[in-house]
């Protein structure tokens, strides 16, 4: 534990936690003066190969409003067989099964290396996983065919005992019954009518379990699955469903010239949610929505069917000119909340060249922990591989997905919980440790995460409530316990407990320590999440101003400078990258909507608030690698000056993977040198970035858009829009030498940004 760097890394590896501050300011006042709140990025299901789950249940603090889990931080009296809760100081006897406990015989949860531990709950029935496909049939023939194949393929990836269901929709919504022989049977709902969950269940014949099934079939009471004809174990209906998918037709209703096909996405989802709600409440389920265009009718309609009316743009939204926006958003929010209550997550796979209404539908995934995947067509590897990756398995052969998670955060009394930002909904669990100061989704200490995967990461924000005049004793520690209950993909219920502690520090006397305990990466991401969270409800410029102010205040707090002398401004190493992150964040699609459609913004933000720190950082500040004959591949500055004719650049923005061939390289390639034996090295040079890209493609979810371009190529814009415009048409000659590619933009460059920042930071007037 030589440096904070290592400490941080170790903590992340062991617990999946990154705190903005690794020393906590000991009073509320001081905490607020630090600008960046005490907060952390927490990855509940972080993959930990060396953490075998224990086969028993956790020991809980007996105080009713505490219920903290026994952890290494607790004081234990081995003789009295008593332990003291480190959160509420309640003294609890060990349960009888711990009778043999002693200093040399400690249970795992008391060992410091098990600050994170996973329990397997044996109680209760294990519910199978449920996958409900909701498929848009208003697709081009080619797209539909590709989608059908993907779906059929997915059947083989599902666990055999998983329940699977199929809903298709176009102008109508069809719920397919999977058990019938001979005639394929489906229930049809009109696409324009909003139905209550009860109505849907009645219409599907699910309402009265009392009355034996319509077909007079005996219903085994414990076999809930059998009673639902629409969700059947994969192994039983494999063939049926494959045939059914094979026979899927495009929506047969004619689409007149100048019209969009009528697509009843809203009702389809409502039916899906209603169906699961009735049949499998509180059981892990995944609704997978595949759409090829925007909802054009019924509740949740995003755009009318007239082609001459284009789908809303940011411009329309700012002008309050998006007719359906509010209504549709409200509709999907209601659906998302219902779904979240029942622990069902909703994925959206949207493949279309135009927008598909993700802006309105994003909450479906955001609130339920579902995925959003956006592509141009179902007939692309982007979709196919991404979809396949949903069903990828971990080292244990389990699916990398979990359901129905509940995250509870417990804190020692000096700390309260302000909120969380991530793919979760509040469970409105009020308690003594709930802060009045909300950040993100607050007002609670419990959140529901209907869908989880190993990379799902929440930002959790705390407030230090200790009063300035009641200092924490030297060496005192504050602790936070994360308790995550979830349904594992192997249908077990599990509880993962992570308990961490940090030292309190007095800002006045230990400012240096605190500064060096600053995790600028985590802080950048956490601040970015706050910014993005605000951006959802506030105007873009307001958010930027807020971010700027925070940055300036931080620089004022920690910078070393002479008043009103910008040139004297210095930041310590632990903060040196932070302004740069903020610079790129300001330009990122998460906060800038220019040149992005509302759908794209929603898509980017969705992923931003759920990915772990590394990925988030890539999103904020893309990584640029350079390949040239001058040396081995190296990361270079994300700057226009890095764009040189004799280089190949590989940029990873998380969403895109861009390979850019410099002007000379491109010419060589065009000339076909790589084909010549004597230019084998050139061939290798060309190949190197491709290989690296492949590596990234293999692991990333969702699969990024892969772009292979060259100097002057239209696709080069992806690169040019990301790099710092240090050279533009305005200052091209000011720098004297021609070392990079000028960017045609009026955006400020990092240099200008930093100059301003320094000026403002040192200004005595602020």
């Amino acid at each position: 534990m030589s440096t904070y760097q290592e400490f941080i890394q170790q903590n992340e590896d062991r617990d999946g936690v990154r705190f903005s501050w690794n020393l906590w300011p000991s009073s509320r006042l001081e905490a607020t003066r630090l600008v960046v709140p005490v907060s952390c990025l927490f990855t509940p299901l972080k993959e930990m190969p060396n953490l075998p789950p224990v086969q028993y249940e956790p020991v809980l603090c007996s105080r009713a409003n505490c219920k903290a889990v026994l952890n290494p931080l607790c004081q234990v009296d081995f003789r009295a067989k008593i332990w003291a809760c480190n959160f509420c100081f309640q003294r609890n006897p060990f349960p009888p099964s711990y009778a043999g406990i002693s200093e040399v015989n400690q249970p795992a949860e008391l060992m410091p290396q098990f600050s994170t531990i996973e329990y397997i709950v044996q109680r209760g029935p294990s519910a199978p996983l449920i996958f409900l496909y909701v498929v848009d049939t208003c697709l081009e023939e080619e797209d539909l065919q590709a989608l059908k194949e993907s779906l059929q393929m997915s059947l083989s990836l599902l666990p055999p005992n998983a329940l699977v269901g199929l809903i298709t929709f176009g102008r109508m919504v069809q719920v397919h019954e999977l058990t019938c022989e001979g005639i394929a049977k489906s229930y049809v709902f009109r696409g324009t009518k909003d139905l209550s969950s009860k109505q849907i269940q009645e219409m599907l014949g699910l309402a009265k379990p009392a009355a034996p099934g319509q077909q007079g079939r005996p219903v085994a009471p414990q076999d809930a699955a059998a009673s639902c004809r629409f969700l059947q174990p994969v192994h039983r209906v494999d063939m049926n469903l494959t045939d059914l998918l094979g026979e899927l037709q495009r929506d047969p209703w004619p689409v007149p010239q100048g019209k969009r096909p009528l697509r009843s996405t809203g009702v389809a989802l409502s039916v899906a949610v209603g169906l699961l709600e009735g049949a499998f409440p509180n059981t892990g389920a995944r609704v997978m929505l595949f759409i090829g265009g925007p909802p054009t009718q019924g509740p949740g309609m995003v755009v009318g069917d007239e082609l001459k009316t284009p789908i809303r743009s940011w411009h329309d939204i700012q002008k309050d000119n998006a007719r359906h926006l509010k209504k549709a958003t409200k509709y999907y929010e209601a659906l998302a909340n219902r779904s979240a209550v029942n622990g069902h997550s909703i994925d959206i796979y949207a493949c279309a060249l135009d927008q598909t209404g993700l802006l309105e539908m994003k909450c479906l995934s955001n609130l339920t922990g579902g995925h959003i995947v956006m592509g141009d067509s179902f007939n692309t590897s982007l979709f196919k591989q991404t979809f396949q990756r949903v069903f990828s398995k971990d080292y244990n052969g389990d699916f990398r997905m979990a359901f129905g998670g509940v995250l509870e955060v417990k804190t020692t009394r000096e700390l309260k919980v302000s909120g969380a930002i991530g793919p979760c909904v509040s469970l409105h669990s009020k308690g003594s440790s709930v802060s009045e100061n909300e950040m993100g989704i607050g007002g609670t200490t419990q959140w529901k995460l209907c869908g989880l995967d190993p990379s799902t990461t929440l930002g959790v924000y705390f407030e230090v409530v200790n009063q300035h005049n009641a200092p924490v004793p030297q060496g005192g520690r504050g602790a936070v316990q994360f308790v995550t209950q979830y349904q594992h993909s192997n249908t077990q219920r599990r509880i993962r407990v992570t308990t961490i502690a940090r030292n309190w520090a007095d800002v006045q006397s230990q400012i240096q320590h605190i500064e060096s305990s600053f995790d600028q990466e985590a802080a950048a991401v956490l601040m970015a999440r706050l910014g993005v969270f605000r951006a959802e409800s506030e105007e873009g410029p307001d958010v930027l101003r807020w971010l700027d102010r925070q940055l300036i205040r931080l620089c004022q707090k920690f910078g070393q400078f002479n008043k009103d002398d910008p040139t004297s401004f210095r930041l310590s190493e632990s903060l040196s990258l932070y302004p740069q992150f903020m610079f790129h964040l300001r330009r990122s699609p998460f906060l800038q909507v220019f040149n992005n459609s509302p759908d794209e913004s929603s898509y980017y933000r969705h992923h931003f608030v759920r990915q772990d720190l590394t990925q988030s950082l890539i999103m904020i500040q893309p990584i640029l690698y350079s390949y040239s004959f001058h040396g081995p591949p190296e990361p270079v500055l994300l700057d226009s000056s890095s764009i040189l004719p004799d280089r190949i650049l590989l940029m990873d923005t998380f969403f895109q993977l861009v390979i850019y061939h410099g002007e000379t390289i491109a010419q060589w390639r065009k000339a076909g040198y790589q084909e010549m034996a004597e230019y084998e090295n050139f061939k290798q040079l060309l190949q190197a970035p491709l290989d690296d890209a492949q590596e990234i493609l293999q692991t990333r979810f969702p699969m990024p858009r892969y772009i292979d371009t060259e100097h002057g190529g239209s696709q080069a814009r992806f690169l040019l829009s990301k790099v710092n415009p240090s050279q533009t048409h305005n200052n091209l000659y000011a720098w004297g030498q021609e070392t990079g590619a000028p960017i045609l933009t009026d955006d400020v460059s990092l240099q200008v940004f930093m100059d301003h920042l320094k000026k403002l930071a040192v200004s005595s007037s602020t």
């Binding site: 001979g182 005639i183 394929a184 229930y187 049809v188 709902f189 009518k193 007079g216 026979e247 037709q249």
Partner: protein
Amino acid sequence: MNVNQHTPMASPYGQPQPGYGQPSYAPQDGGYPGPYSPYNGPASAHQPGVPPQGYSPFTSFPSKAVAANPVSDLSSPLDLGPTRLPPTSAPPPASAPQPYNQYTHSQGDMQNGPPPMTQAPPRPAAAQPYTQGHVNMSGSLPSYPQHYGPPPSMQQVTNQMTGMQITPGPPTSAGPGYVPPHSSQPPLSTAYSAAAQPSYTQAPPPASSAPTQPPPASGPAASQQYYGGPPPSSQQPFNSSLPPTSQQQFTSSVPPPPSQQSFPPSSFSGPAPPPTRPQGPPMSQSQPQMPFPSQPPFSAPPPVSQPGFAGGPPPPVQGSFPPQPTQPSSQPGSFPPPGPPPTSATSGQYTTSMAQQPPPPTQPSPYHSGPPPPRVQMPPTSMGQSNHMPPGPPGPLQQPPAQPGMQTGFPPQQNGAFGQVRGPQPGYAGPYPGQPNYGAQAPAPAPSAQKRLDPDAIPSPIQVIEDDKAKSTEPFTTGVRGQAPPLVTTNFQVKDQGNASPRFIRCTAYNMPCTSDMAKQSQVPLAAVIKPLATLPPDETPPYMVDHGEAGPIRCNRCKAYMCPYMQFIEGGRRFQCGFCSCVTEVPPQYFQHLDHTGKRVDCYDRPELSLGTYEFLATVDYCKNNKLPQPPAFIFLIDVSYNAVKSGLVSLICNELKTLLDLLPRENPEMDSVVRVGFVTYNKVLHFYNVKPTLAQPQMLVVSDVSDMFVPLLDGFLVNVNESRQVIESLLDQIPEMFADTRETETVFGPVIQAGLEALKAADCAGKLFVFHTSLPIAEAPGKLKNREDKKLIGTDKEKTLFQPQVGFYKDLAKDCVAQGCCVDLFLFPNQYVDLATLGVVPVSTGGSIYKYTYFQAQADQERFLNDLRRDVQKQVGFDAVMRVRTSTGIRATDFFGSFYMNNTTDVELAGLDCDKAITVEFKHDDKLSEETGALMQCAVLYTSCSGRRRLRIHNMAVNCCSQLADLYRNCETDTIINYFAKYAFRGVANNPTKAVRDTLVNQCAQILACYRKNCASPSSAGQLILPECMKLLPVYLNCVLKSDVLMPGADVSLDDRAYLKQLISCMDVTETHVFFYPRLLPVMKLESGSLPVAVRDSEERLSKGGVYLLETGLHLFLWVGASVQQELLLNIFGTPSFSQIDPNLTSLPVLDNPFSQRLREIIDSFRAQRSRYMKLMVVKQEDRSELIFKHFLVEDKSASGGASYVDFLCHMHKEIRQLLS
């Protein structure tokens, strides 16, 4: 007959006939053209042109025409009167006259007073021949020579006598009988003997008549002549009043025929028809003579017959007329009221019976005495009584005599008149009891005073039907305006010569009153029953198709009437004047054609729209919805698969049947595959649609449970071409019964089912038909949900009407939507309990659909009926998305419509579907005066989409005469059509008025009609006499049947659904169907001959013999009644069992036995079924069996279990009503 009729018609116009006959006449026509050109012109022209070109029908006539022409010529000079006159004069000439006579006779029948004149003459001729036969006549002649001359006198006489006094004119014929009365008792006897039958049957009278006529100047004279001769005074009176009516009647009656025969044969080919009739009479005569006293009557007949007649009506009549107070009059009164008059109608025929009646002669005296009393009694007592009463006194006397003489053998059934006809037949001899009846009538009063009128004495439907059959042997040509077609019970061929065939349009009156005052006074409803897509028999040409090119059919600029024979071309053919509104319209250049010298277009006969009454136009895109050519229609089958339907075997039955039915979808060209697409839906509480796209390996079921807001889940694959999707469809039909075999669902929906079909058609943008197979009251939660509201306690109260109103407004709105889309709904109901048909039926009724109901359906017992109905319903020709508009000439207007359709405004009848069985009754009212010259024109245009998806316009044109004399109106109306109108009017009324009020209204209107006749057309006579117009003498009996129907007077076992069912069923029936429905056909089938049906008997239990087997059909039901003491051989032949007790009462079809009798009987049953639009299930009813109650319900002349009056009682009641009106 037809020919005759035509001629008469022609005669008025004079030329037409010529035209028919020969082209040569054309010139003559030319002469006349002016006057007739507009109307006749075409007709005449037609024929001339026609023969050559091709409207061939008349080609055969030429010969006749020639003959006729001469006649016409003669007549022409004289004009109407003249024409006839000539004949009269002609008669003497013998041959020439004769032909005339024939015509005249027929004409006479058809029309008016004038004819009588002519008739008289002709008859004379005929009569003479007959007279010869009738030696008696001669004998009598002396006294009445002239009168007899009128042998037609028979007719005439009857007319005069009976017609005048008693019943209709015809009754007057009975009158002949009366004649005697005139002469006073003594005369009576004489009269009877002489005048009576001899004269009747025999031409003799004619001869005499000829003479007489001259003297009497007036037409009536003829009739009078007979009697008149004897009792001049009386005659005179008669003449004036009687002539018209009597003649008609007479003409119709036998007499003419005979005369014709004799003559006609000689001169005319046409005679043929008459001959037959004549034969009838002669036969009867001869036969009667042979076997019985009746024959004697002939010889003696004169006396006898007369008495007979006299006995009944005649005596009274005469008596009444001359001196009502006097005994004779009184007698007449008494008699007439009862049967006599009616019989009189038959009188011509009756003659024979009359003859038999001779006994009456004796009666005379009684009559005299009787008469007065009767009257007195009449008033006090009920009708029946009154009738009886009068007879009473005399009755006793009469009866005895009558019975003795008459009864000798004639069955009562055979009325006097009928008797004759039948008389001739072997059986008659004994039976003549009828006569006794007569006697009874007359006498009855006395003896049976308490008893009833003798049923045989009152007008017999059977007789009228048989008469008409006998009369109608020639094809009926429609070229003559105002000519009533043969009755619906008669088989006849129709030749379209400018007016629509009676198969398409039948009118209540063929002579419309010129003014609304007249119409109001008479109360005769002016209505037409239109069956626009009626199926024609194979020997008649279907309507020609006319294509006027892209501009569409040529129409009047103002009233938009379509080009038709009533359009008159002027200005050398450059313009035409509309016959309806008189507006002048330019002829489009491409349609221009020169006119010939008669003002007709040269191409007149090349163009159906200028020469025919019925034709079709090809509609252009302007006539299509949304200006888009229509798609081929679709049939959607919606099958209830709830527990009841599955359990009764219905579902599998339907599915099985559909497999074969799908090959029978309607098509226009039998060689092509039908273009009709099909779709399938099953339902209980939810709906299941099926995707049967040809590319699927298996059908797909789409369940729609959102019944509150119905929609169609799929488009492509729902409506498919049968041939392409056959495999998938068959697989589906195989699987449906299996899929629902275990269903426990008992609740059903209904509204959403129709909505589903409607939405499907909307989505496919086509018209079509839904076949809904439904079992129960729709109580499941859904739009159109109903509750059980059947409450027997409401029956008979003011609230009863609410039960006929739909329970909820939902279906009305739905119906409107259906009509807008051209979605016709046929509903097949299989209820086990109340299903609220009044509500469920709203949509089918408003969309031109049909309702079929199979209560307590069991696959075993009812499948034959259901499947046959279904097959027919699927196969039959049908038009979709139809709009019917009836245009009329200025002066009248179509004001009311009855049938299965929807109306958005007051003029357009919208029918989502219109099939070949649907008729629409249209009522007309005056809004101005009509002129006798132009008559009244109507044009019914139906725009529809054919089953192959072509837009068509079918045009029916109809012209009727207008009259300023009430007598003409009464002479040219059709009771069957009036009844059709009354029934529809009344049945519609029950939804808005208490049932009793509806019944009273009917009775009242009927009484007014008859009272008006009595007051204005009949010769003055005692108030105690019931005098019915010849054409309406069956009005009371039929009306009674309407009143007794389950709708207006339900029995305890008749459910509300049954009534609602009948109500809607009748609303779209044509005249043929209503006729047999209200007056079922009852055939004795003890003896069967191939080729002809046995003569029916009247619907009364009295007519059933214990030893007989009878077949009764109503168009909905078919019974085989087996008497308790039927001969073993017969039973063996029919059932294959010798014992009555071994007959299985549950038989629904007769065993197939290899004997001619069984074969023939089954043939007859099959032919009955083939005639009706719905399959009739056969019920075998054994006498004294429990099921006989049901059977008896259809014996409509008897008192009904539900309290309906017997015919006799009702007639008396009617009489009372009339008398009240008159006083």
